[in-house]
Symmetry: C2
């Protein structure tokens, strides 16, 4: 834990430009301490200027010139063809080259997935990296995956998400033994489609080193019934966007209500600090790892603020310093045993 960690940053990703990325990295640098250093990939002149403006980066950040930038609307296939030498490509390549322990980007998600997969390769049996959402809820943060690109998931993929998500939650949130649930339309064993029922059976068999709690439902995401909620990328994406939609709609309706009359406005003014605390508590964390790769890659959204860049750097450091990869590997080898082995002769009751 005391050996120096290098975090490789795509400083051109993000809508606010390299100065905000550098300022976010500087903020994280101050909090993470001297043991962490940074590679900043991107436009040399702009980055030298941005680094010079951040005293906290002095002696701790190295600018790595990169000529190209992958645009936010570029298709993953285009990014693979034309992205070599770009700030994103080089940020990820530094992990493969052994120069960095983790990478951070606020760039195009699809491109980052494709580039990371090509350079680092998948450690798990997944087709594409799994994306985790961190949901604010009644009992803290719930990690939900996949909310990304794995639209068709068989039972084995779902079990992989459980393994990846559990290790991520421990590393990112310091929960020693995260609980895991499988998203379904009811909590009884016979509910749902074949894929979730089979994944439930595999997880129930208990060959994995994880605390599996069975099926959970949509409203358990905010109740915090379990720490990690596993689902396919289709359902997870719809659930995440639905929740974001409800959040935005309610926030906007509330604003409308509290400006509708003079009395309501006066009330809102008095309640302002409380309303601000309410919003802060409910705002989701935008940093998200791409799970299943041979290496730690954290993405944050394009519009990331200085604080959100700093948060993504923190997450990258937490994951890189944890035993995360080894834990995943141990459970993954048990999964291939569980899937390949014929059922034991006297195990009728186990399924």
């Amino acid at each position: 834990m005391t050996e120096p960690l290098v975090i490789s940053v795509d400083a051109m990703g993000g809508d606010h430009g390299p100065a905000v990325v550098a300022a976010g990295v500087a903020r994280a640098a101050g909090e993470l301490g001297e043991g962490v250093r940074f590679l900043l990939h991107g436009d040399e002149a702009a980055l030298n200027q941005a680094v010079a403006a951040c005293p906290g980066l002095k002696g701790r950040a190295e600018v790595r010139p990169a000529t190209g930038v992958i645009a936010m609307d570029e298709k993953p296939a285009q990014a693979l063809r034309r992205g070599k030498g770009s700030s994103m490509w080089n940020a990820v390549e530094a992990i493969r080259a052994g120069e960095a322990g983790a990478a951070v980007s606020a760039g195009n998600t699809g491109a980052l997935m494709a580039v990371s997969k090509l350079i680092l390769r998948m450690g798990a049996g997944l087709d594409r990296p799994a994306l985790v959402a961190s949901w604010p809820g009644a009992r803290g943060v719930t990690s939900v995956l996949d909310v990304g690109a794995n639209v068709d998931c068989d039972a084995e993929r779902l079990v992989e998400f459980a393994i990846l998500g559990e290790a991520f939650h421990r590393a990112a949130h310091g929960v020693a033994r995260p609980t895991v649930g499988l998203l379904n339309v009811g909590s009884e064993e016979m509910k749902g489609h074949e894929e979730v029922r089979q994944a439930n059976r595999i997880l129930r068999e208990g060959v994995f080193d994880l605390d599996y709690r069975g099926f959970v439902e949509g409203d358990d995401l905010t109740k915090g019934a379990v720490d990690v909620v596993v689902t396919d990328g289709f359902t997870g994406n719809v659930a995440l966007k639905t929740a974001e939609g409800v959040f935005r709609f309610m926030t906007s309706e509330l604003r409308g209500a509290l400006t509708s009359t003079a009395m309501a406005k006066a009330g809102a003014l008095l309640a302002r600090p409380a309303l601000k605390a309410f919003r802060d508590r409910l705002t989701p964390r935008v940093a998200a790892p791409l799970l299943g790769l041979n290496g730690v890659v954290v993405k944050t959204h394009g519009g990331a603020s200085e604080q959100e860049i700093a948060d993504a750097v923190h997450m990258a450091a937490d994951l890189a310093r944890s035993d995360f990869a080894a834990q995943i590997e141990r459970n993954m080898s048990r999964l291939s045993d569980a899937v390949q082995a014929p059922p034991p002769p006297a195990a009728d009751g186990a399924a």
Copy 2:
């Protein structure tokens, strides 16, 4: 439209007992006018007393004694075996017997689906009735289906939901030409799994009399991007429960914030009418039809209040008086043509 309509009510369904159901029916009776009459199924003594307590039901409600009640936790299979003669069974049976134009129940959803399907049979090719949720959003109410029991849906099922939901939305909300979207993880044509992509192709071919707008995403549910959102019962159930969870969590957090300090409390007091309007606007409508049956069956939740019972009766009357069933039949016959017919020889561009 002027001929008398009879609505058959399971007066024993619901947690608050027959007196609340009767009061809810009486409220709707007053609003719907003399052209609508009611059959109330359930315990004779209790219902006679409840009806006597509601002057508005005088001469318009007939009590139909039923001995059994299907419990809220009864399994659908049990309800089918033991439910004959119960208030729910008889309420639905009155439609088949030609005595009523629609039925309403606040009882066990699974049992109501099973009993309705057995008695009325499916008019569509569905295995089970589709359930519609009415979502409050930025542009009024969005109808989302299926949020119920159809967990595995092929492309043809999804197209059926589009047909059912469109006709429902027009009948229930008076929108002449509701727009329809298909829930997916992105709006581009190549996104999502095979079932949604194929359903999109069938709907795009345009043989149906409906205004199909293509793919929508989770956050479009509250944006009101389209009037009717179509999805499989697994995704729809998760999305609905996720939205309910976010709504409850935010409401509870808001309450917590507004009672956290004396200033916040004073503010909340001033803003009280505005906050109440906010809540009312966001509270979802709990009445929901079971779509695809040969007959109109509306369910409302077990804890339905007098007003919510009245709302379900209104929905039943709107559906029974509309051209709903004939519209569905017309589009359904086009669906079987579209699915059975080989693609036209020169239609390469259409897929």
